[in-house]
């Protein structure tokens, strides 16, 4: 029997862009019926108008490096891939801005910017070889060590082009860094997990590549000692680009500092930082764990946040929970901004994961933060509340209802079942 929906989708594109779904297209265990890879923003809009008319549930996929984040979709008809929405639209080096299509791998973008001595100052903490796309990084709001100096997606994104769930194409912001005309929809789409529509183009502010850098690392015996080192660096005027900790189960805590700048400046600052830390190894290359999540594919991955002074407490609480539940909980992340990541092996009993998450939530709540379960095996996902308490959830539901009244975009993937 001919498939009318498939025919409609194909008619909206150049034809080759649409196919029936097959093995390997499932999102968190949920299989779509169709897969489409539009070649332009206009084609994406045409596809999404068909999806709206046919009441199709849609999930957007970039490189798929974080497709396991968030809950499984409640329903799924169309998997929309951004792999053909690639390339730099404009790189105005003199203005330190770039406009790039959402399906472009971040690494490819960086390679295009580097010859001009520029960078998108955003780390993408992924296993080597993973080609996270610009759109995926924006949709999941990922960040890494250098967020301490440059901020996160929300601080670097200056303009955005989206296709709404009803297929309408819209832009917000622009391509100048300073701009307060209209609502900043880029921030709304950042970290929205594809629940408000499809991001097709992003404009970013860029930063010059530093001419020199130095990593300093040192090992502390416990969370308290690491905490006092972190506090000493924070109170200094050394302006580090990153301040990270890595606490493996039973292995003490490593603290690492990144300094970026001129050759002379970095040399002098490294000497001062070394003294401040009470001794440290100084290298040009990062420690092996730098800018990588502590979990492997299939493990439980947590994001833990805290007000800055709460970081040592959180490290201690994590070590304590690991001991009591006999679970090898690794914690790593940006002590300089209050964002840590935790990992538990895939084989950890779901009950133990749930108990640890509950205990850590009590700790983060006491220091103004949250615990989010970014990724987890399905059995664990069913046992834990992935997002925990969310302030402003009622308003978020209302935003969702305005943008996607039929709840067709990534339904169930986001906070409060959005």
């Amino acid at each position: 029997m001919p498939d009318d929906v498939l025919a409609d989708l194909a008619a909206a594109t150049d034809g080759d862009a649409v196919r029936p779904a097959g093995d390997g297209d499932a999102v968190a265990g949920v299989a779509p019926r169709y897969v489409a890879a539009p070649g332009s923003t206009e084609e994406a809009a045409a596809l999404l108008r068909v999806a709206a008319a046919r009441n199709l549930a849609v999930v957007v996929r970039g490189a798929g490096t974080k497709q396991d984040w968030g809950g499984p979709p409640r329903r799924l008809d169309l998997l929309l891939q951004t792999r053909r929405l690639t390339g730099v639209v404009e790189h105005a080096a003199g203005d330190l801005i770039v406009v790039v299509r959402a399906g472009t791998p971040v690494a490819e973008l960086q390679a295009k910017l580097a010859p001009a001595g520029q960078q998108l100052a955003l780390d993408t903490p992924l296993p080597p070889g993973a080609a996270a796309t610009v759109g995926g990084v924006v949709a999941t709001n990922t960040s890494g060590p250098r967020r301490m100096r440059y901020g996160t997606v929300r601080d670097l994104l200056i303009g955005i082009t989206v296709v709404r769930p009803d297929g309408v194409l819209a832009r917000a912001g622009g391509k100048v860094v300073k701009n307060v005309a209209g609502y900043d929809l880029g921030k709304l789409f950042t970290g929205a997990y594809g629940t408000l529509g499809l991001v097709t183009e992003c404009a970013f502010r860029l930063h010059p590549l530093p001419t020199a850098r130095a990593f300093l690392s040192c090992r502390s015996s416990d969370a308290a000692e690491a905490g006092s080192r972190v506090a000493a660096v924070l109170a200094s005027q050394l302006a580090p680009s990153a301040l990270e900790v890595d606490a493996a189960p039973g292995g003490g805590t490593e603290t690492a500092v990144l300094l970026e700048g001129t050759a002379r400046g970095v040399r002098e600052r490294a000497t001062a930082a070394r003294a401040l830390l009470g001794g440290a190894t100084v290298t040009e290359q990062p420690p092996p764990w730098w800018s990588s999540y502590p979990w492997r594919s299939g493990d439980v991955g947590l994001k833990l946040t805290a007000a800055l002074s709460g970081v040592p407490r959180l490290l201690a609480a994590a070590a304590d929970a690991a001991r009591r539940h006999r679970a090898p909980l690794t914690v790593r992340g940006s002590a300089g901004t209050g964002v840590l990541y935790g990992a538990l092996p895939a084989a950890t009993a779901p009950e133990a994961v749930a108990a640890i998450v509950t205990e850590l939530r009590a700790e983060t709540a006491a220091v103004g933060g949250h615990v989010v379960v970014l990724t987890a095996p399905l059995a664990v996902g069913e046992r834990v509340d992935r997002w925990g308490p969310v302030e402003g959830l009622d308003l978020m539901r209302r935003v969702k209802a305005q943008f996607d009244p039929e709840a067709r975009f990534a339904p169930g993937r986001f906070v409060g079942g959005i």
Binding site: G94, V176, K178, A181, Q237, T262, R269, V339
Partner: protein
């Protein structure tokens, strides 16, 4: 909305806020008729001065129940008419909520009420070696609540960003009258970044009642230089060269000959005599880095034709260099009876071309334009001079001012870099954004304010009809429908 309704509302609010906190006397109301953009004047029907978040929420709820629009106002220094009152609405003034609740350098945070003056945050943090980075020129009088509404910038946002980059948490009264927390002391709260959407929404999504701001560690070293150039072309080229060299100064400011003349007349800042343009470049950070880059900056200025270069030897000399720049707007009053402060943005590299176009238009129309701008990020503040006493001059100045915005749009820039759209630039929004863009932005507004009661008529030229209004715990007032119809 009738007089009776407003007096009913006033009667309902007095026991909640206190008699002195509700103003209905016509003469007193008149003192609130405009904000920093005095060309628009509207006397509000009522002024409410809440002292707590709960009082602010109660005031909004009373407005919702009566179907009366409300406008929030901080210090009233805004330059786009964003806090222009509504003739049939309540002006909710937050300037009496001015406690600094906490300064926590160990968290790099301070928690303040919306009426707190911008500069007072930095003063409170200074003993600990921290400061609040966004520094609008009005920082001695403008409030943090107003900064949040406008996403205010300042001379140093080239390096440090705007209000939105320095606010991590808010407590707001929604247009339903509910108190809601967005964000907090920690970053990356789960869910949509409503905090990011709220900052810069110009009072159309609700009223801020508490702000958690990021404090920044004071830099080890600050170095400032003033360089005189023959004209803006040379100063612009120097700016581009500094950026191209990979230097990110804390600030790069430019003033043209007319702006220099005005500043000299007003504050005797001692800028180089006969300069066609001056650049102020400030570097900050670790001393070793600042020293290295400062040498580059001096060299690049000379290579691009700088005559005199003056380096501030101490804080007093730095203050003198900045005095001319910071007083520039007011100083123009010395050389012209009236003037319009424009605020537009262009890509930095378009600077020479855009300045030539402005000069051409100025010459063609016989309207003088003084240029003061944040050169590092392409944010222009042309000051269009006129004499209101001469018939036709105000209109001419308006035309020139509008033409400058058109040039900004044509170069892919923005109609406002920091002053906001407010009432002043509502008409320009459709030139910068498509109907679909504006419609999409208003989806957010409909989520927050389906009745369209929060600062109606600002930012968007045509309000979107929001469809079904979500249910409230109180029944809808019969007059609300009538009120809504009037608002729209």
């Amino acid at each position: 909305m009738t007089t009776t309704d407003i007096s009913t509302l006033a009667t309902a609010l007095r026991p909640v806020l206190g008699d002195a906190q509700v103003i209905s006397d016509r003469q007193e109301l008149r003192t609130y008729e405009c904000d920093g953009l005095a060309q628009y004047r509207v006397v509000p029907a009522l002024v409410a001065l809440p002292r707590t978040a709960a009082e602010c929420a109660a005031t909004v709820r009373a407005c919702v129940d009566a179907g009366v629009p409300f406008v929030a106002r901080g210090s009233g220094t805004g330059l786009s008419g964003g806090a222009l009152p509504h003739a049939e609405g309540v002006l909710i003034v937050t300037s009496q909520m001015r406690a600094i609740r906490a300064v926590r350098p160990e968290d790099e945070r301070a928690v303040v009420e919306p009426g707190v003056i911008n500069l007072h945050v930095s003063r409170a943090a200074a003993p600990f070696g921290y400061y609040y980075a966004p520094d609008p020129s009005s920082q001695q009088v403008c409030s943090i609540g107003g900064n949040v509404a406008e996403n205010s910038g300042g001379a140093h946002c080239l390096k440090y960003g705007f209000t939105t980059n320095h606010v991590t948490g808010l407590e707001v009264v929604t247009p339903d009258g509910d108190l809601v927390r967005l964000g907090g002391p920690a970053p990356d709260a789960p869910g949509y970044d409503l905090l990011g959407a709220f900052v810069g929404s110009e009072g159309t999504l609700g009223i801020t009642t508490e702000v958690t701001v990021r404090l920044t560690r004071s830099p080890e070293s600050v170095r400032t230089l003033l360089a005189g150039f023959a004209g803006t072309d040379q100063a612009g080229a120097a700016t581009s060269a500094i950026i191209a060299a990979g230097v990110l100064p804390a600030a790069i400011e430019m003033m043209d000959a007319l702006a220099i003349e005005a500043a000299e007349a007003a504050v005797r800042c001692g800028y180089p005599a006969g300069a066609g343009a001056v650049l102020i470049v400030e570097l900050d950070g670790p001393a070793a880095e600042v020293d290295a880059h400062f040498t580059d900056v001096e060299r690049l200025c000379r290579e691009h034709g700088a005559g005199e270069i003056r380096v501030a030897a101490d804080d007093a000399e730095r203050a003198l260099i900045w005095k001319g720049r910071k007083s520039a707007f007011a100083a123009v009053g010395r050389i012209s009876p009236d003037y319009i402060v424009q605020d537009g943005v262009i890509p930095r590299t378009a600077l020479p071309e855009v300045l030539r176009r402005i000069a051409e238009i100025s010459a063609q129309r016989g309207v003088r334009v003084a240029n003061v701008f944040h050169a590092g990020d392409g944010n222009l503040h042309p000051l269009v001079l006129f004499d209101d006493a001469v018939p036709g001059q105000a209109e001419q100045a308006e035309e020139v001012s509008g033409a400058i915005l058109d040039i900004c749009i044509a170069h892919g820039g923005s109609i406002t870099g920091e002053h906001g759209v407010g009432m002043d630039k509502v008409g320009h929004m459709p030139r910068m954004y498509s109907a679909d863009d504006l419609d999409t932005m208003q989806l957010l507004r409909c989520a927050f304010d389906p009745r369209g009661l929060a600062n109606p008529g600002k930012v968007f030229p045509t309000p979107r009809l929001c469809g079904e209004v979500p249910g409230r715990r109180r029944g809808a007032h019969p007059l609300q429908e009538a009120g809504l119809a009037e608002v729209f």
